[in-house]
């Protein structure tokens, strides 16, 4: 496979809810091995962009391609075997056991009546091991803390054995130790099974810490896209967020950090 071929390609995408335009003329390519961070102020269209890329929403104009195929031509079930999404936060209605929740990631692969196979078990178990949630396997999901639940969601997404992993503000309300752990887990999967990761970030410092490339959205348009160094600077932050901020360099890593 040609390494230069994009995995996800967005070609001149426009999207609006009713008549309110949310995204305009978005062009974006995601390549193999990339960790893409989508940033921007509230209401700039970050989550909408993620929903378009994961096939939940359909653009009014433009085309989204996945491995060079039009995403609208791919059936849901097949899409579920390629992309998995970690939600920002969601409530699981009934108190399923953790292992049952993780196992739901295998649903696209299970044939009705045949039920799950040993390899499905192994993949789920593996996903739980990777996210340090195997110790919770027998517990009810409602008995876990916020950070533990987030890890279970990631395990669920990994159990789907995706080629593309998408996340929506995955660590915004986690403690520092959990954030580090999550980043370690995600980077680990990127090197092995997952081809690329796209994540929406609320927290600019986390985005700068995680992503190889940042997409800065401003009122439905891409303001700038590039490495954290290129994107996060005084001029861009002032223009997009319309507020003053100080940019400093991380003491050990060559990445910018924003302080108030």
């Amino acid at each position: 496979m040609n390494i230069k071929e994009p995995i996800i390609g967005l070609n001149n995408i426009s999207f609006s809810y009713e008549i309110k335009p949310i995204l305009m003329n978005i062009d974006l390519s995601v390549f193999s091995g990339e960790f893409i961070g989508i940033i921007g102020p509230n209401g700039s269209g970050k989550t909408t962009l993620l929903k378009l890329m994961s096939g939940i929403l359909k653009p009014q104009r433009g085309q989204i391609s996945l491995f060079n195929k039009d995403i609208t031509m791919i059936p849901r079930k097949k899409l579920a075997k390629i992309i998995s999404v970690v939600p920002q936060e969601s409530y699981i209605t009934y108190n399923y056991k953790v292992k049952e929740v993780v196992f739901m990631g295998r649903i696209p692969f299970i044939k009705q009546w045949q039920g799950e196979t040993v390899s499905d078990y192994l993949i789920s178990r593996n996903a739980m091991e990777k996210t340090n949630s195997l110790c919770h396997a027998e517990k009810g999901i409602h008995q876990l803390s916020g950070g533990e639940v987030q890890r279970v969601y990631i395990a669920r997404a990994l159990a789907q054995s995706p080629q593309i992993l998408m996340l929506d503000e995955f660590a915004s309300h986690l403690d520092l130790n959990y954030k580090h752990e999550m980043i370690r887990i995600l980077k680990g999967t990127l090197q092995r099974e997952v081809k690329c990761i796209v994540s929406v970030f609320h927290d600019l410092n986390l985005a700068s810490f995680c992503a190889d490339r940042l997409i800065l959205l401003n009122e439905g348009k891409i303001e700038i896209s590039g490495t954290p160094q290129e994107v996060i600077n005084n001029e861009n932050i002032k223009k997009v967020y319309k507020s003053r901020a100080h940019i400093i360099q991380h003491p050990e890593l060559a990445i910018p950090q924003v302080i108030m």
Partner: protein, 351 residues
Amino acid sequence: MKYLTENNKNIYGYPNWRYKAFFVLIFGFISILIVGFIALNFGAISIQPKNILSILWHHKTDDSLGLIIWELRIPRLIMAMLAGMTLAGVGGAFQGILRNPLADPYILGVSAGAALGACTGIALQYITGLYLANLLPVLALIGSFISILMVYLFSRKKSHFPMTDLLLAGVAVNFFFSALITLLLAVSNRELHSMLFWLMGDLSNASWQKISIVFLPVFIGSFLLIYASLELNAMALGEEEALHLGIQTEKLRLKIFLIGSIMIAVVVSFTGLIGFVGLVIPHISRLLVGPDHRIMLPVSALIGAAFLILCDTIARTIIAPTEIPIGAITAIIGVPLFIHLLKRRNENNEY
């Protein structure tokens, strides 16, 4: 792959749900047979268990005792079983698809439509003086189908079926038909008793002919609901998560709604509105076997069946020969049982 051994299945904590389901179902069937046999022993006329066995074994219908067993008690037993299965199974499926633990089979307005149909029939019977008792199920069925159609049409947006709109349409239709029933009750005098009886559930009219009508929709419907149980599991994660798992959520919702409503409509038309079972039995079975619909739905159906057999036996014997509406018994027995299980869950912190 050294993990691929039988022993390891337990180590990574996945007992195969099919084994679990198999044992649970066998256990359930046996308990229903036992409960059913015990129920046959009770009634206005007492018959020795020994005699009942011989009546069952030889299929005796030539004397009065045989007729009581074969034409009165057994049809009633089977009707109770079918109604319990349907109410509890559909209740569980609705709670899953609507992601709402407060959902019951009547939440989408089927019951009120059926009740209006039946009560209209009862009123007509007294006004015109004609004998319409056999027509009541037909009228109830027509009423419930009208309500299903109304909910469907009110909640449809182009090709969308938003969940809140579906629920709101159900509530609205329910209120509207209930208001009409209240009007009917207000102007009724002599027929009030039979209307109230119908509204609280009544199995006294069960017959083999009625069972033959109810049987097929109930079994086909239950099969289809259980077939969708894996998708129902995914719905617990949330609408979007289910979409990401490749499930066409709106189609699934419409499918479950239609199948469930038709099953309920058919059953309710013959039994009247039996409350409580559809709301609480799914919770009880979730407390017992966990929320996985592949096991929870069949278990709900079995517990529902056994529970209604029990309640109906009490309803027809406790102050025999007077009958109590079964809907009153279901709640009186069920609520303490449910509270007990709920308290036990809170203490053990499971499910």
